[in-house]
């Protein structure tokens, strides 16, 4: 039920973001969603893409440092309290959220991407509470280009 997320190390300098993005563009790899964590000196570009293995290979060939992390995608209705309900379940499961990001798709639906310290425990609890955890294949099918 987990998704492969690529993280790319970037120095916090003008033009740095273009490097990995252009490599993916040329290779015809689609970015499903992304987030960018930044500090004064460096940033981490986190990506969920159409073909993570190919993307990793291409980026590493051009000397990008790439890390693969397993993240959890959850689908929720896009309404007030949608996220709050999910976080409540996570709190009960006593797992920690390292970070998260979200995007909306279609109309009225939102997807949440979570990085948990214990993803398996989180998935178990979320599913037990009836939350829709989206697996890798379903994610690629349902979140269209």
């Amino acid at each position: 039920m987990k998704l492969h997320q690529l993280s790319v190390f970037l120095e916090n300098k003008r033009g740095q973001l273009s490097v990995p993005l252009n490599l993916l563009a040329v290779a015809g790899i689609d970015i499903r969603t992304l987030s960018l964590a930044d500090t004064q000196q460096f940033g981490i570009l986190r990506l969920i893409v159409s073909d993570w293995q190919k993307a990793k290979e291409i980026l590493e060939k051009e000397h990008c440092v790439v890390n693969v992390t397993q993240v959890v995608a959850i689908e929720v209705p896009d309404r007030p309290g949608g996220l709050a309900d999910v976080v409540k379940v996570i709190d009960h499961a006593a797992v920690d959220i390292e970070y998260m990001y979200a995007f909306t798709f279609q109309s009225g639906r939102a997807a949440l991407i979570f990085r948990f310290n214990e993803p398996d425990a989180a998935i178990k609890q979320l599913q037990a509470e009836g939350v829709n955890v989206v697996g890798s294949e379903e994610f690629q099918q349902r979140f269209p280009d």
Binding site: Q5, F9, L10, R46, H63, C64, V65, V66, N67
Partner: protein, 444 residues
């Protein structure tokens, strides 16, 4: 048959001199010292002027200890007498000229007679033998060929040994790795920092040097730390041996680590070592750290009397378990040349390198940048991020940064900035690594 590298397997008659009884060795050294001082006094104006000024005559050298009365020679003497002012042989006897790169001023010129080249080859043979390298080995010589003494020095020694030499010179790393693999290379000669680059590049090419027949590296031409040796040995599965030399004395082959890897034996039948206090010039007792001073006992073209190497080391008081009677110096991890002074504290790049390697997972691609901001010297260490240390959270990278800062500060006792940079943004050297970028003069 693969050479196992044990001493007995690669005995070479030239190495017999490594085992001379001490009293014989000292008698030989004294004879040669008296002869070289006489020759330098007769043929080199600088020596004569300086000895005369001290009221010293060649015949005043009666014992080896008397060497301390002789004047020092320093690097600037070679520049001041550029190009041929230190020659003791006429040009028709000189068969080879080499020169330093001259990055810090005018280059220095070094010269060899036929006899000097033979001595040079013989000490390189003894160096290879001490590393367990023999005539069955295939040696890839990636030291630069040309004016730099490293390439040709190792080349002639390897040939005299009877090994198979590949004169590939430096650079073109992909080809180096291809040749290393396809030719079944067993010994590599290059700078340690270039070999670290080769390990990295091989991995990118999908190769693992640990699976190659390569078994020994003869690394020199720049100071390197114990930690870097461990890194190389673990990452490539070879034995990393330290070789010492300098062009002013002869080139590579002044000293070598034996298989005990416990200091470098100096070929003191040709190069007489002393350790002095760099501030006062007074001799240090064995075991005490100071500046290495070398006198060439048999060199003809340019005899060097008490040359101050600026390398910081000590003479090992104990004898070596390998049985060699020629004395050892400690591995040279620092040079007074490389030292920089920041906020009144003497810092050697090797100290920073040791700190970086102590922090788990950090490989030695780094650059020390010195700047001056509002009159205060700042030191920034740029460290390349590697897949091994990179994770997806900001906290883990900041943690890494913090650990490096803390480890360096503990060692140096001054505050530093650490900047994590993307891989391959720090320039790779094909020869001597450039570790320090001093921008203080531009900014002040």
């Amino acid at each position: 048959m693969k050479n196992t590298g044990k001493n007995g397997d690669c005995f070479h008659p030239a190495a017999a001199l490594d085992y001379l009884p001490s009293d014989h060795l000292q008698a030989l050294q004294l004879r040669r010292l008296q002869s070289v001082v006489q020759r330098s006094y007769d043929c080199v104006r600088l020596t004569r002027v300086r000895m005369d000024a001290k009221g010293l005559r060649p015949e005043d050298i009666r014992t080896l200890d008397d060497i301390r009365h002789l004047p020092f020679t320093v690097k600037t003497d070679l520049r001041d007498t550029y190009p041929f002012g230190m020659f003791a042989s006429p040009m028709e006897e000189v068969v080879r000229l080499h020169s330093s790169s001259g990055t810090t001023g005018k280059p220095i010129v070094v010269a060899y007679t036929q006899e000097d080249l033979e001595v040079w080859s013989s000490v390189m043979v003894r160096s290879f033998v001490a590393c367990g390298v023999g005539r069955n080995d295939i040696i890839q010589n990636a030291y630069g060929y040309g004016l730099f003494t490293g390439g040709l020095g190792a080349h002639y020694g390897a040939e005299a040994l009877g090994a198979t030499v590949i004169p590939i010179s430096g650079g073109n790393t992909d080809r180096q790795i291809m040749v290393m693999k396809d030719f079944g290379v067993t010994v590599i000669c290059c700078t340690p920092s270039y070999f670290v680059h080769m390990i990295e590049r091989a991995r990118e090419m999908g190769e693992d040097i640990r699976r190659f027949p390569l078994r020994v590296g003869v690394f020199g031409a720049e100071p390197w730390s114990h930690a870097m040796r461990r890194h190389i040995q673990e990452e490539s599965g070879i034995r990393a041996q330290d070789i010492y030399g300098l062009s002013e004395i002869i080139g590579p082959g002044v000293g070598i680590e034996c298989e005990c890897q416990a200091g470098l034996h100096i070929f003191e039948d040709h190069f007489y070592p002393e350790i002095i206090d760099p501030a006062t010039g007074e001799p240090c007792s064995d075991g005490t750290e100071g500046e290495l001073v070398l006198t060439t006992l048999s060199k003809k073209a340019i005899p060097m009397i008490r040359y101050r190497t600026r390398d910081i080391t000590s003479i090992e008081p104990e004898s070596c378990p390998c049985g060699r009677t020629i004395r050892r110096i400690q591995r040279i991890c620092r040079r007074s040349d490389d030292m920089f002074i920041i906020r009144g504290i003497n810092v050697f790049p090797s100290q920073i390198e040791a700190a970086l390697l102590a922090v788990e997972g950090t490989v030695p691609h780094y650059l020390i940048v010195l700047t001056r901001q509002k009159g205060l010297d700042q030191i920034e260490i740029q460290v390349e991020v590697t897949p091994a240390v990179f994770s997806d959270t900001v906290g883990s990278l900041e943690g890494l940064q913090g650990r490096i800062v803390k480890t360096v500060e503990n060692i140096l006792g001054l505050s530093v900035n650490v900047r994590l940079v993307e891989p391959h943004t720090i320039e790779r050297s094909m020869g001597k690594a450039k570790r320090v970028l001093d921008q203080r003069n531009l900014n002040s």
